[in-house]
Symmetry: C2
């Protein structure tokens, strides 16, 4: 009886210990470089130097620069799905929206590189993002909000634009952190700054939708 096949990696090749470790290290280094210089602006050479390997090794683990970039993008999307989006019709609107805002701001704080790569990719046309079932996912979100409105639990607003408002406002703290620092004179945004952002945004959005803020522990 043959052994079960090893789990496939992003390159489709079987995953030994060494391969797994090196792929992870390369993706991590690539994420930093892509976030700072964009896809075109990043060279395989700079990634190789950052991870401490000859650049030929990168081509051994990832067939091409584009393949490595797509692996980085998929890695980001995986983190996204784990961290967000657990709103359901049965939830209390105020509490669910508050949780969403805080989770998204926390993501901007803890994973700013991921947010920036994703932003640049979308701005550049998103040709490397698989669109899969994104539309269904979006329809599900708007349906939840619309159900709240229909039940009189939320002021009547356009659900799609509410989502885009939340998205844009929270994403801003990752993508434009540099500009925010310049404007406010800070050298870097700290946890307290993100907490203040979440609190202000929660305050405005909830009041704007006719909701009272949930009790918090």
């Amino acid at each position: 009886m043959p052994a079960a096949p090893a789990p496939a990696t992003s390159t489709g090749k079987p995953a030994g210990r060494i391969r797994q470790k090196n792929e992870k290290a390369i993706i991590a280094a690539a994420e930093v470089e892509f976030a700072r210089h964009g896809y075109k602006g990043t060279s395989m050479n700079s990634i190789a130097q950052a991870v401490g390997l000859p650049k030929a090794n990168l081509h051994y683990y990832f067939s091409s620069k584009q393949g490595l970039y797509v692996a980085v993008l998929n890695n980001i999307l995986g983190q996204w799905e784990n961290a967000l989006d657990h709103m359901s019709v049965d939830d209390d609107p105020a509490e669910a929206l508050s949780r969403y805002i805080r989770a998204k701001i926390e993501f901007s704080r803890s994973q700013p590189l991921a947010s920036r790569i994703f932003a640049m990719e979308v701005i550049s046309g998103g040709q490397y993002l698989s669109q899969d079932n994104k539309r269904d996912w979006f329809r599900g979100r708007t349906a939840v909000i619309q159900a709240w409105i229909d039940a009189g639990r939320l002021a009547p607003v356009d659900p799609a634009h509410l989502i885009f408002t939340l998205w844009g406002a929270t994403q801003h703290y990752a993508d434009f952190a540099g500009q925010i620092c310049q404007f406010t004179g800070k050298s870097a945004l700290k946890k307290a700054d993100f907490d203040a952002a979440a609190t202000t945004l929660e305050q405005i959005i909830l009041a704007g939708l006719g909701l009272k803020p949930p009790a918090r522990g």
Copy 2:
């Protein structure tokens, strides 16, 4: 008595009719290319082809690729200052904020390329943006909002984060237009979509700040 010197151009050279016309055409073509492919991803060759000139001519009018890029950025910033930011303490808060939201959304609609170039530049570190007196400008904006709050004309929120919320939410409709289209299944955002966005955002923000929407003609 000597004639008045010709107005200086972005290259610092005197401006003849031909030069003025060609520089304008080159900047316009460069804006399209930079918005789609980023700074590094854009080649002088592609800009030259788009504007219908040999690429050597681009180097005749702009000393370098970087010089052309900075000229494009400055051109964008000029448009920005003309279109926005006329809030004053004497204004009615609801009306001033409503005007700001609609002007910013309208800018996302009419000048999406400018918004995208600016966004990518900020995400990439903003090394080509002169920071000038940006901090003073920002302090002025927050001061106006704080004055409204102190006078009891606005719910007490953090002025800085209110500005960032407005910024992020409105900018989103330019930078992430592609993603919005994918999610909503539209092929392109039309004026009605931007109007709906502005209306929803105005509704949420004003209610969120304890304001009633101003009468509109």
